[in-house]
Point group: C2
Chain length 265, copies 2
């Protein structure tokens, strides 16, 4: 999958691209079938919400689940990332964020690169997030909110918030958010299960709580240019990966083709 | 102001009616000028958020502020209420809810009549809320979420939640919400400052937190039929009023006409 020149320009200018319904229902079903058993396990890769047993985020499923391992090498995700970053790429972080009906808590305003710089010593902002919606995202189930063009203003000062939710995060102060929103506004891309959203690692984003009866599971592939790999290893490997080998894509039908996962190249 | 037969039917069927931009900018400005000084006062009528000094709700401003006193007798609010309730009406509760930028906290799923029945011994669900938006309401600043037609299913069992926010509330369990939303969906009426929303006291509603840089102040007039007045006085009078005299409306231009407030009839 190649981005058109117009899409590539839009990504650089706005900081994100949205592809509603990029994956078919059949492909989404294959992924969704895996989630309950992943979330049911009691292992360090599952971080639960502050006030409930609901899983807030699952880390690194691609390293121990064959189906998500295929997704992490899917050409509809990896090829646009390689194109936008102009380099071979690897997975820096892999999350399945729950945002469960009624229980899903907020993610405060932040840039992912803030964390990757502060915690992992990633040298440059040559990385991105790719989100795959495993359920429909609407205005009520805690959609991701993006501040368009905020990535153009570089890395913002951030404070380490260890109390608001169950997961520590480098977050951005209100005055900065007000200024960035004044310039770029806020968008919240909504769409059916199977939609894909790619956004720059310096794009400021957040999401509200989910008070609706609809789950809002999203897979996030955080993708880094191979030559930009991290240089500090203070976080556990399942949170900040250390395998910097270039990803080799699987065929486009890898999620629904019924055969064993190909060996990693 | 009269509701058309179609509007009156819609209110009975759906449980709410929305009038975008019912008040002019000039009228909204007159109201907004009063809010900062009301919120700045340290008095029992101001309830602040759990984790900040931001005002969550101000009670009974119509009893001690001339401008909001006029709003409480405005024909664009009171006449539709009289028509829908088929009776003379009085103000049971009057709130200016802050939902401040960044700080505004959630209101859990609830019916107002649950509280009015449990706490105030209001005999029947012959009451409503009228909301006047003092700022534009968009998808990001914590819009009110309504479950259409939920009022048709009567008063739901409720539990007294005294911990989630700074204000105790009779709230409805998740299974009931899921069932009601399955039937009616969720709507969040969005519109400019000056918009008016009227909804049945048994309509189930909630609102999310406000993570945006935009305030979302809303005035709520809770209006009860005079013959349905409350019979228990355990809550303070500034929260559950005890003046059951029928409201006599002021002229339609009462907010912008520069003369002293007319004496209460």
């Amino acid at each position: 999958m190649r981005l058109s020149p117009a899409q590539a320009d839009e990504y650089q200018r706005e900081g994100y691209l949205f592809f509603p319904g990029l994956f078919t229902s059949a492909e989404v079903n294959v992924l969704n079938e895996q989630v309950p058993k992943l979330y049911a396990e009691h292992r360090r890769e599952n971080v639960r919400e502050k006030d409930s047993e609901a899983v807030r985020t699952n880390f690194a499923a691609h390293t121990y689940n064959d189906t998500f391992g295929r997704l992490a090498r899917h050409p509809r995700l990896i090829e646009p990332a390689m194109q936008a970053l102009g380099d071979d790429v690897y997975i820096h972080q892999f999350k399945i964020n729950g945002k469960a009906a009624f229980d899903g808590d907020v993610w405060q305003w932040h840039q992912d690169y803030g964390t990757w710089f502060n915690d992992d010593d990633m040298a440059e902002a040559r990385a991105m997030n790719i989100a795959v919606y495993l359920e429909a995202v609407n205005e009520f189930n805690g959609p991701l909110m993006l501040i368009p063009r905020s990535h153009k203003q570089g890395r913002q000062p951030a404070g380490h918030d260890v109390s608001t939710t169950s997961y520590p995060l480098w977050t951005i102060d209100n005055a900065t958010i007000a200024r960035l929103v004044g310039d770029g506004g806020i968008v919240a891309p909504k769409g059916p299960a199977g939609s894909m959203l790619m956004f720059h690692c310096n794009l400021v984003h957040a999401s509200g709580s989910n008070m609706s009866p609809w789950n809002r599971t999203i897979v996030y592939l955080s993708i880094n240019a191979c030559t930009n790999h991290i240089r500090r290893f203070q976080r556990p490997e399942y949170i900040a990966h250390r395998d910097f080998a270039p990803i080799r894509c699987l065929p486009d039908d890898c999620l629904t083709r019924d055969e064993p996962r190909a060996a990693q190249a």
